[in-house]
Symmetry: C2
Subunit: 470 residues, 2 copies
């Protein structure tokens, strides 16, 4: 009897899927936004998808996998873009999507199981208490709260609250360890750093406690500009208006809005760059006063005064932003890809100008304004008109040489996609919580190859990555 | 029959008070924080206090005052510190305190009559909808919303939302003009600038529409430090933590906390500088994690875990901050006064250090962290151990020479207490809305003396100021 067969025996009664087509489908995320990852990971699949209904079943699965040395890769909805939830060494894909209860809502706080969908949480919190989550990715309607916390960084709402990494944006994570007898830990305060954005490499998150803020019926707005830099100046100024409550500010360069936002095309000209905004309804008077101050700004669309006919079939504004911009682009032109850039404060506008000048329409601009360490600045998720990996790396280097760090979405490891250094806290926690190294193998370089030199330009290749031909 | 007698006849049925003691009392505010204003304004009094019950009565009063050339100075609770609501030329003190209805509460919005008390608004908004005003002065429990908008600038909550002057922090003001036939105007968006912080010199505010935000049962916290600069560094870092929801961050130099906060004295040592905070309850874990990172910080008091015995008799934390710090100081040592300083971003900490070094215990530091044009920086409301006006002016000059503008609380005019320049929008509006110049005379230099040179160091003396001996 193989390890897997013994495992299946040990977890009898828990939902298991072993149909290879379905297992492969549940082993994937949106890694294919990257032509590099597409080539590296396209063949990756787990052996089984296991779908626990509650924490007790999670414990049972981890205990059995530990006993039989089977890797476990936890997964929410698989909406990541870095291969976060892809089982590089096969084994069990631990599908948490059935653990989706919203367990408690009180002023400022929601407690939910890891598999709860973000928009479901907000629907319940809104109806019960007029509250919503502080931030969410553009995959709001499909992504899970556990997946967001384990594999995401911020998104719509980060203009007010910064990122998930910031103290206070997660209150508590309940985590099951991968040991002979799995432990259940409630991590709060400083301890959260152990498992936040660790891709589930050192524990399986079963429950999440998050801060809530006041919910509003956000108004979708598109403001048009003749040049991308006009849109950037507008967005930069807007983001610094302390009294104007917005949830999203995204400048996007022509011709992307017209070419990619097909449902909104009727409001857009091909030569128009835009800023996509979400504005609190009661702030619309102040917002339109702000727009009117700028002779270069033209209000192209606002959902609060649009007719039903105009609104028919339009996706929400947040599905034009963050990686939904890229997704809409890929649907129109599958040859493109993208990057993730930080334009550090206080030189963000000047650096955007420089990069735009250097790269023009090969890398059309797409910015996302956020608070970052207390200052308003922007990330870039520029579209890249992809030719080959060498040129992509040149473009990355060009950003870095101009003071704009890249969070490389063409790498599947925590470190290469992030800060390019060992996270000692997460590594130490993995030593205790996953002594056999069975959780999401291959994603934490510091674990796989302690001598790896992050300052080298070399790509980390996980030796345990199953090959396509295997 | 005198003008006043004719006026009284015209407004029969509206509440009038003419007892000189009561009229004088209702003609004063907290101008006496300033020894300079105390000398200049101590004798000031109106002739009558008129207390309308509704807007129709306000219109009736203004119509009659216009007809008989009687000055009108509108007043909320008289909690200002600049003599904002003091009738320099006598006439009618228009007491709006009876117009205190909270007329509408909906998501993000409250509509209230001008005389509504701030804490009353919040009590109603909290009970009905879990909401509260974005910001309030330390006189929360006595000040009116109309007075705050007409004579205030920000306060507790400004760390999140900036000041009242910022677009979006006031939604609508309903204003009655001072004409033969008074008009009622609803000002929104850009038009708000006409009457915001105009001391009622160009219209009488009868109704206010303000944004609301989520309300919480804020936790009062005092963190202690060995040096004032340690407390400033802590506060500066704290203010930039995007995920930590606080409503107030105020560093105060030793020995002020111990010497002035008598009810809290049991928690304080004389040599300890403090940061007074209000923290959202669900952020306390993250907040204590943040405090624990700083080996110089010591948590001295937190209301959420204090016993009833410890909490007995303590004022709320916000009544230790802004001008309540000064008020508590004046009760202990009537010889002190204060200043209002802006420490401009990004050099706020360095400038505080410089000023502290230069002035030491003659001007013990008290800072209030705020958002200002999108950046976190601080105002100062330092205590000044007052000797004479000449030295006070030297201290002011020393701040200005070190790049720290003073909003001089020893001046009663809009311009000298503010930006030291004509506000053309407000002046133009006064020309239309108060053609006879009867509203709060003497407060807008640009009206009284169009040729006044703001770059001179000369004090503006309103020729119409009634003299003590008159």
């Amino acid at each position: 009897m193989s390890d897997l067969e013994r495992l299946v025996q040990d977890i009898a009664g828990i939902a298991i899927e072993d149909n290879p087509q379905i297992v492969k489908q549940k082993s994937r995320d949106f890694f294919w936004y990257s032509p590099v990852l597409k080539q590296q990971l396209d063949h990756v699949t787990g052996d089984l998808v296991v779908t626990p209904r509650n924490e007790a079943e999670v414990i049972q699965v981890l205990r059995a996998c530990y006993a039989h040395d089977v890797p476990v890769t936890a997964r929410g909805a698989g909406t990541g873009n870095y291969g976060q939830a892809m089982p590089l060494s096969g084994g069990v894909v631990l599908n948490l999507a059935e653990m989706r209860a919203v367990k408690q809502i009180r002023p400022g706080v929601v407690v939910a199981e890891a598999g709860a969908i973000l928009s479901d949480i907000d629907e319940k919190a809104g109806a019960q208490s007029g509250q919503e989550l502080r931030m969410h990715p553009s995959t709001y309607r499909t992504a899970t709260i556990g997946g967001f916390v384990a594999g995401g960084s911020g998104g719509i709402g980060s203009i007010n609250w910064g990122g998930l990494r910031d103290l206070g944006n997660v209150i508590r994570l309940r985590v099951v360890t991968m040991e002979a007898e799995p432990k259940v830990l409630d991590l709060q305060g400083e301890d959260l750093q152990k498992v936040l954005h660790a891709y589930g490499t050192n524990g399986v998150i079963t429950e999440v406690e998050m801060p809530l803020t006041a919910s509003y019926d956000w108004v979708d707005v598109i403001v048009g500009f003749k040049t991308f830099m006009d849109s950037v100046h507008f967005a930069d100024d807007l983001g610094n208006r302390d009294g104007l409550l917005l949830k999203e500010i995204a400048p996007i360069a022509a011709p992307l809005p017209h070419d990619y936002f097909l449902r909104h095309q009727k409001f857009l000209r091909r030569e128009t760059s835009v800023v996509v905004c979400m504005v609190a309804p009661f702030a619309m008077d102040a917002f339109t006063a702000f727009v009117a101050r700028n002779p270069r700004a033209e209000l192209l669309y606002r959902s609060d005064t649009a007719t039903d006919a105009e609104k028919k079939g339009l996706p929400p504004a947040y599905e034009l932003t963050w990686n939904h911009t890229t997704l809409r682009g890929l649907r129109v032109d599958p040859s493109i890809t993208y990057l993730q850039v930080l334009y550090p404060f206080p030189n963000q506008v000047e650096r955007v100008r420089k990069i735009t000048e250097l790269l023009g329409d090969e890398v059309p601009g797409h910015l996302e304004y956020v608070r970052f360490d207390g200052k308003v600045t922007c990330f870039g998720l520029p579209v890249v008109r992809y030719t080959n990996e060498e040129r992509l790396n040149e473009i990355i280097k060009l950003h870095e040489d101009n003071g704009c760090p890249i969070f490389n979405p063409h790498r599947y490891t925590l470190e290469e996609g992030g800060m390019k250094q060992t996270d000692q806290v997460q590594l130490d926690f993995k030593r205790k919580a996953d002594p056999k190294g069975l959780l999401n193998p291959g994603k934490m370089i510091a674990w796989e190859d302690p001598s790896y030199d992050f300052s080298s330009d070399k790509l980390f290749l996980f030796p345990g990555l199953q090959r396509g031909e295997s």
